[in-house]
Symmetry: D2
Subunit: 214 residues, 4 copies
């Protein structure tokens, strides 16, 4: 049984739910065949989230980690390509911190690529009938912070671990009166099942055009 | 048992599914308590669609008719406010017709309002946790054509009938590799159940701000 | 010299400028050859705006009236096709009024079509290198209110007058820190010159596909 | 007189103009006070564009280089934060090449940050009344390729040089019949003047919240 760690986030920005945690919980309750799925719910707070992530990795000793966060406004599930070494918060995090332009890791490289087969993951989600794409930016808030921290942990301490970040749309109940795209938690959970199954079983990523013109 | 007629459309524009028919079928297979739900699948063709609608109304003798169509690009379920007396086709319909600026009904009024309680319907969909809003335009293609034809039928021949039009988003499987909003058929069906239940049971629409600045 | 009346609006909703008035002023300062251009700046208030419009029409005795309003979020200049008999305000107007679902004119028809050659106007704007399209809805706020009131005035009292409504994007200076489309006042003024020149000189509108699928 | 090199691109993807070159040409024809502005028009082709850029840098020996490209769909001027070491082409370039997932520079770091004061540049554009923001991704096509190549040149051979990349919206004439945001070349040129003036005169970037949630 391959061991997978999935993380989601606490609600933030006034929402009562966070679709990342909704979906992660559904996957844990009904994991894909052959996988042992652990979960952790991270605080939406710089620093704290990374401590929680490290503790969860130590506890679960996974082969694959997929961190999941909300990307309100995106219509499909997006698999992130790259984490950058910047904390630049447009709004305060849930601890009231608002870092501007400092690094995630002092002295760390400018960026890390995901060590998941991101294109194979996108293809698997689409094969399940769910919109998906590669994203070229995870932003500069707590999601990117967690993604960079995970990648740095892998690069410096756990070379056998593979990991990445997936952004998911709003849940429908978050936007009942706003013109924003959304997908139900059950749909997003199905996408995550496809992603973790693919991540565990794929050695070499597929070659396909998933870039962005700009 | 109140009698409701729901209509959807055949696929068009190269799609293999039409989310309107997917959702309507699900409602018919599992109708809301107290309602008898008939369905009709209309051609996406000027003229023909209205003949099919009239035949379905004659057959079902409903108290409420809700016609449903795809509005690719809209993120939520929209209840249409007004049908206008124009056929102005940006693309050919499935019969190859492309009328430009002629009327739906020669000599008919410029427009009809829906005779559904549109704001109560929107409120009911939102209460089910699904994004919804009032739309101020059903376009100028076959959807508006059907909506206007239905309203004209009600105005001129069936004053006791109430009817309107609901636009629904793409289904996820239609847009797996495109950045377009979507909702699964099961979610849209739940929205339609809320709409028909509300339409049958609501005499006077609620007053709420669902207008558009422009 | 053909007489044209152009109207714009006072700023509303917290903006310090209204791009409709900016552009209208530029046209009046440098009118197209052969046209006498009068202007009026309307209040963004239900009722009052229509009184001001009527007074301006009486004063200018124009052959063509084009009312212009801001449509924040639209990327191009849009020529409106239809005005509907509804006041349904999402936000209060500048007088603090927020009508919900009452008519513009008690007992008036559900809608009026513009009496401008809307497709020829769109073609003329595009020929000037500026994005333009036909719009199927002017909303349900003061813009639609003015458009309907103008159309009703034409239909009931001034059959020789022709008139319509044009929505214009934000001015760049309104959205310097928001991801919203905009066009400079000079560009919008050029579009309005093309529209009024076309409206005055075109008897029969062109036939072209400018409809909307939904 | 400080020496600035501005680059734009040849048209691509079927367009007859490229707004980056339009704007760069206007700046060269009417440069800001105190600056000597050189220009180069780069091919929209992997590899070739970087050779042309290197030649232009050698020729102009500038203190600041700002490469400019089209970002169709973006409503404002965006100053790029980071270039990544990936060529991943969604469409072929003008030479027919379509690299998938190879690096820009074999063995180069995952990413480089711009060495311009990006936030001061954004603030200067806004102060000129023009929409602007920091962008967290320059894509994975030729624009990112040029930006990465420039940053690599600076890092490895020209440490005194400062450089970055600016993405600009469509020109209005490119999208006359499409619902896409645009800004006229004169407006974009004014933004570029603000950027190069700021880049030359600003030692330390300002601290301001220009990050992205995702």
């Amino acid at each position: 049984m391959a061991r997978v760690l999935l993380t989601g986030f606490h609600p933030f920005g006034g929402s009562v739910v966070n679709p990342s945690w909704q979906a992660v919980s559904l996957v844990a309750a009904d994991p894909p065949p052959g996988l042992t799925v652990s979960t952790a719910r991270l605080s939406c707070a710089f620093g704290t989230a990374l401590e929680e992530l490290r503790a969860a990795v130590d506890r679960a000793d996974p082969e694959v980690v997929v961190c999941v966060g909300e990307a309100g406004g995106r219509p499909g599930v997006t698999v992130e390509r790259v984490a950058i070494n910047v904390n630049d918060a447009r709004i305060p995090d849930e601890a009231g911190q608002q870092p501007l332009d400092g690094p995630v890791v002092e002295g760390g490289p400018v960026a890390y690529f995901a060590t998941l087969p991101i294109k194979a993951c996108v293809a698997a989600v689409r094969a399940a009938g769910i919109p998906a794409s590669v994203s070229q930016t995870a932003g500069t808030f707590v999601c990117n912070h967690v993604f960079y921290g995970l990648a740095h942990l892998i690069a410096t301490e756990r070379p056998a671990l593979r990991g990445g970040f997936v952004h998911v749309p709003y849940a429908p109940e978050q936007v009942v009166d706003r013109p924003e795209p959304s997908l139900p938690a059950a749909t997003v959970a199905e996408a995550l099942r496809a992603i973790v199954t693919t991540a565990v079983s794929t050695e070499t990523d597929v070659r396909s055009a998933e870039g962005a013109i700009h």
